[in-house]
Amino acid sequence: MEGSSSNMRINEQKEEAKKEGMGKVREKTKKRSKEEEEEEVEEIFNLKNKPAHEGEDGDLSDSEDSVYSGLEDSGSDSDDDEEDEVMLDSEQTQQTPEGKKKEGGVTEEEEEKKEDEYAHDSSDEEDIRNTVGNIPMEWYKDFPHIGYDLDGKKILKPIRNKDELDEFLDKMENPDYWRTVHDKQTGSDIILSDEQVALVNRLQKGQFGDVNFNEYQPTVEFFSNEVMLHPVTNRPADKRSFIPSLIEKEKVSKLVHAIKMGWIKPRRVEDDTRGHFYDLWASEDSSILGRHKMHLPAPKIPLPGHHESYNPPPEYLFTEEEFALWEQQDPSDRKLPFVPKKFSSLRQVPAFPRFLHERFERCLDLYLCPRQRKMRVNVNPEDLIPKLPKPKDLQPFPTTQSLVYKGHSGLVRSISVSPSGQWLASGSDDGSVRFWEVCSSRCLKTVQVGGAVKSITWNPNPSVCLLAVAVDSVVLILSPSLADKQVVSSSERLLLGQQEAGATEEAGSVTWSDTEGEELNQGIRLKIQHPKAVHQVAWHAKGDYLASVMPDHSSHLQVFIHQVSKRRSQNPFRKNKGLVQCVSFHPVRPYFFVATQRSVRIYNLVKQEMTKKLQANSKWISSMAVHPGGDHVICGSYDCRLSWFDLDLSTKPYKMLRHHKKAVRGVAYHRTYPLFASASDDGSVIVCHGTVYNDLLQNPLIVPVKVLRGHVITHDLGVLDVTFHPTQPWVFSSGADATIRLFT
């Protein structure tokens, strides 16, 4: 506080001093104007002394006493000078000598002047002898004067008679030449004192003019937080400084309310626990969640194979075709998601472009894929094969092709073996029926019937020798006379005896007629004319009844039963459901089997009713055979299946056999051996062992024992009919290649 006050005082004093100085200067200028001319030379001389005073002044200006010392006049001058240009300086220097000269006696005079100075106060006035002002002095270049003094008189240019030479000499000889300055306003030369030169140097360096001025004085904080005893300023305090602020109060109350309500939370303490790890599993015993037991860990990524190596063996690289295929394939179908590549050194391996994708896909799998526990079936395929009795143990059954019966020129649709097993009859599309001797494969007899033979059957009664042949819409009864006389005569009797009776009974649409002439010679004995094309004929086991099938959707006339002995025909069904495919008599009981497209119906001929309907589970039944026991039926179908029905068991097939690759055309049971065979368009005949047990609880045992091949597939047709030898384990098959083959 005190320091500051003292400083202030100093400032005040300085100001006073300045004013004094100014006053003096003005007075001096007045005097000077008179004495100027005479004293010029001396002035220059005295210049040296003056700055010394100035320097002292600088020093003294700090102390209080110095201002009032005898040298004050010059001291005050110097204060002004600091800001002025050198030009000004020189003017002032000129005035000082006067003072100096007078110094001795004038001190008193000066004292007097002091009062004067306060009287006319014009502190800003400069010491001006030339009144032209601050103009370029070149304007007066051509005039004899350089301006006007205060009284308006011309100031003449000082006589300057220095030429170049003088200038040069001056430069060479005058030691003060370098500090001589030309004052354009007065036109005089001024020699600068040492102090002045030093001042110029300092200013040029950008320093303060005053040597003793301390730029780095400690600052004094007037307006600090410290409460002072006295006010710094004299200003009276505001009213608002006495009363609490309303706005602030409002703000604070808002904040308080917000904090109370929990809207503003105190600053969270920075916890650096992220990335700080500890022993998480220190207490392992913690209870495992129930759900964790159900947890399915994600499967690991499959490990890479040789394909992925940067330098794989050459066989793992893609060939061109493989690469082309890879490019064509959809990305999801590709076996490898990348193309194997080979690099000759590790240095050349580039970044994998799909790395990020693969990682991302893995991420997606991890959180988007449903997981499921899948029981992996680890089955030995050998275990899946059912354990069946060896075919070897199930012998006899036909194994090899032993004879081929050739002679037909068209496909052989139907074959039949005589009950004695000596003869084989075959009907073909070439319009002939041929009789073969089974053992020698010789064709004994050929009967031209004048149409494609659809079906041919020997009469199963061994005491007669008759054949039923279906040709177009006619069923022919043939007597081939291929037996001993007794049998032939008995069959003749059968055909003859009923003639009279037959004439009496006529079925509406069926006509029986005897043959004559050529046909009779060939052995054709009877013709039964049907209204439609006959597809199949079947004998009853006794050999008296004969059934014929005329498949037709729209009519109820599909099946006829003929009685040969009485030449009687009848249509057993009032209505027929579906297309009848084939019919068959039960070997012992009075049952009649009718196979339509989808099912097999069994009728009781005595009771005149349907007893059972078997569902074949196939699209189109092609053929049917009844087991000699009568309790089992097999059906072949065009959709490659063979279904075995156990009549005691159910109406559904006991077994479906899908052995064939193509449509099954014919099926047959062996009369004595537990064998059955199926013929198919794939050119094969499959012989199966099918034991039927008397014990009702035991299911039949079905074992395929042999696949017989031999027929050539022609026009997409393979084997058309199959039949067993009545006594031997032999099987005959007729095919589309116009041959009949015997497998033994």
Binding site: H306, P313, E315
Partner: protein, 588 residues
């Protein structure tokens, strides 16, 4: 009669499932938040058995979650944090909109965060569970640690990933747990056995990624968040199991050795330590400084019979493993600058070798190129100007192949400028019937201790092998074809007969001639086989539909396998032949 009327879709399997959208609504979360929650908690969708029933009769494709799972999520404290965050974002937006900067500041300071510790503990109740599931987390962390520090994810995440992976590698080095390495075109696969768990991870090559646009980095970042936490806890536990300090400290001895003058130039102080750790050249400080721990030896138990064999096999395996762990012990490697330093340093140190590199490549090199005791210098350039006599100059593949084959392979095949032998995957274990590349056969022979014969002999052997293989194939073919054989004979005979008949019909005088017949030699063995095959075929015919389907499937798979193996063998043979032809040409 009576009772409430049953309503459709209110009982049965419908009640166990919930669609994703409903679950989201139940949890009051946005889809990204729900996704994040599912990732963190490990909840995945379930496929119901009867989709239509669960979908209330609709067949629209929907994702179903178990209702139990979603109920479980309801109690998760993190859901609350998610909601907080949502509120935070809303407040922040508002403050920005109103240009209340002080509020922004204050809100930012109170940004809600969450920790995943409890989730880790819940998902992996025991340490082994966690170890079992660590593969993906390692892959992810290694990937993220290679990211550039540009906007794809937080810099802190990248740094944390780097730190964790370095810690992991240091652990593997300290535990000598590495088993297999495989250089693939994708990156380098490593397999380590940590506490009996086989862990495999993939490290991408050190290149900058060009970030694809069809990858959602938010999903990846969420996974990484979880994985870094998991990996951190695992690292902690693993370090403590080896009595190592965590966070890892370098051995004091090693540290003083590694002290370098120009450390300041290399990296900032904070990063320097991590860099030194990641150099993998120094061992880690232990809590209790002991000499190398002695391996606990298996006690001998009196056993007999099969168990004895088992025990012996086990012992043998262990011995082999021990030997593998010390594979590179006593070898001194120097890694040239063009070789991937980190991978090689890691691998070599894992098997007890010493490794160093040029000072300017990375911090932490322990000796110079000029060191006399260096045994192998790993170089990946065609030739080197200044070669020292007393060391091998080999290509990096040698190191990896040695590790995979568990023996020191002959260095001749891996010299500078030599065409390298193929690098095989150690993860493939060939079963019977699989294709085994000849190189693998060679290595297996070396493992058994057989001396590699001269190249030519080798080739001959290979040829023989090939022939054998061919024979096998032929046999197979024969087996397949023998069905038709009999028919063929018959057909031939028939043809002959036909010819004769034709001749007869044409009226040509037959040259009656008796030619000596040929004895049909019947091979009883073959006959028996045929019979068996036929029996089998017949039995297959009698299979049930279901079993047949399965059987066919299995057989199809088997056949395909054989076909593929044959294809590979054929390809190899063709390649070798062409190579041989080329060689011959050049020789001529």
């Amino acid at each position: 009669m009576g009772g409430l009327q049953k309503k459709k879709y209110e009982r049965g399997s419908v009640t166990n499932y919930i669609t994703r959208n409903k679950a989201r609504k139940k949890l009051q979360l946005s889809l990204p938040d729900f996704r994040r929650l599912c990732i963190l908690k490990g909840i995945y969708p379930h496929e119901p058995k009867h989709k239509k029933k669960v979908n209330k009769g609709s067949t629209a494709p929907r994702t179903f979650y178990l209702l139990k799972d979603i109920r479980f999520l309801l109690h998760e404290p993190i859901v609350g944090r998610f909601r907080d965050y949502k509120v935070f974002v809303r407040k922040l937006k508002r403050a920005y909109g109103k240009t209340e900067w002080s509020a922004v500041e204050r809100l930012k300071e109170n940004k809600p965060t969450y920790k995943l510790d409890h989730i880790i503990k819940e998902r992996y109740p025991s340490f082994i569970d966690a170890l079992r599931d660590i593969d993906d987390s390692l892959c992810m962390c290694f990937l993220f640690s290679t990211f550039a520090r540009t906007g794809k994810c937080h810099v802190q995440t990248i740094q944390l990933c780097r730190r964790l992976t370095v810690e992991w590698m240091n652990y593997v080095v300290a535990a000598r747990a590495l088993r297999k390495v495989f250089i693939s075109i994708k990156g380098i696969y490593y397999q380590a056995e940590v506490m009996g768990q086989l862990t495999t991870w993939l490290v991408p090559y050190q290149f900058s990624h060009d970030h694809p646009t069809d990858v959602d980095y938010r999903v990846m970042a969420t996974f990484t968040e979880l994985y870094t936490t998991l990996l951190g806890f695992i690292n902690f536990r693993l370090y403590h199991s080896l009595n190592l300090l965590y966070p890892p400290k370098l051995d004091s001895k090693a540290e003083s050795e590694l002290k370098e003058d120009n450390e300041e130039d290399y990296a900032m102080d904070s990063e320097c330590y991590l860099e030194k750790l990641s150099a993998l050249s120094a061992s880690l400080a232990r809590v209790v400084s002991t000499a190398e721990e002695e391996e606990a030896e298996l006690d001998q138990f009196p056993v007999d019979g099969e168990e004895l064999e088992n025990m012996e096999a086990k012992e043998k395996e262990q011995k082999q493993q021990e030997a593998q762990k010390k594979l590179f012990e006593g070898l001194k490697f120097f890694v040239n600058r063009e070789v991937p330093r980190e991978s090689l340093a890691f691998v070599i140190r894992c098997f007890g070798g010493e490794v160093s590199w040029d000072k300017s490549v990375c911090i932490g090199s322990t000796y110079e190129v000029s060191e006399e005791t260096i045994t192998h210098q790993i170089v990946d350039r065609p030739n080197v100007d200044k070669q020292y006599i007393n060391r091998y100059y080999i290509q990096p593949q040698w190191v990896y192949d040695c590790i995979n084959s568990k023996i020191l392979l002959p260095v001749e095949d891996y010299f500078l400028g030599v065409t390298l032998p193929p690098h095989l995957s150690p993860f493939v274990e060939e079963k019977e019937g699989d294709y085994v590349p000849p190189e693998k056969v060679k290595i297996m022979a070396l493992q058994r201790g057989e001396k590699p014969a001269h190249e030519q002999e080798d080739e001959e052997e290979e040829e023989e092998e090939d022939e054998e293989e061919d024979d096998d194939e032929e046999e197979e073919e024969e087996e397949e074809g023998d069905i038709d054989d009999g028919d063929d004979d018959l057909e031939a005979e028939e043809k002959k007969l036909k010819k004769m008949e034709e001749q007869r019909s044409q009226g040509k005088s037959l040259q009656v001639k008796v030619t000596p017949g040929k004895m049909k030699v019947e091979n009883p063995v073959r006959l028996e086989e045929e019979e068996k095959a036929e029996d089998k075929r017949l039995a297959i015919m009698m299979m049930k539909k279901k079993e047949k389907y399965l059987y066919d499937k299995i057989m199809f798979g088997k056949k395909r396998k054989i076909r593929e193996a044959n294809k590979l063998a054929a390809k190899r043979k063709a390649h070798d032949d062409s190579e041989k032809a080329k060689k011959k040409k050049t020789r001529k």
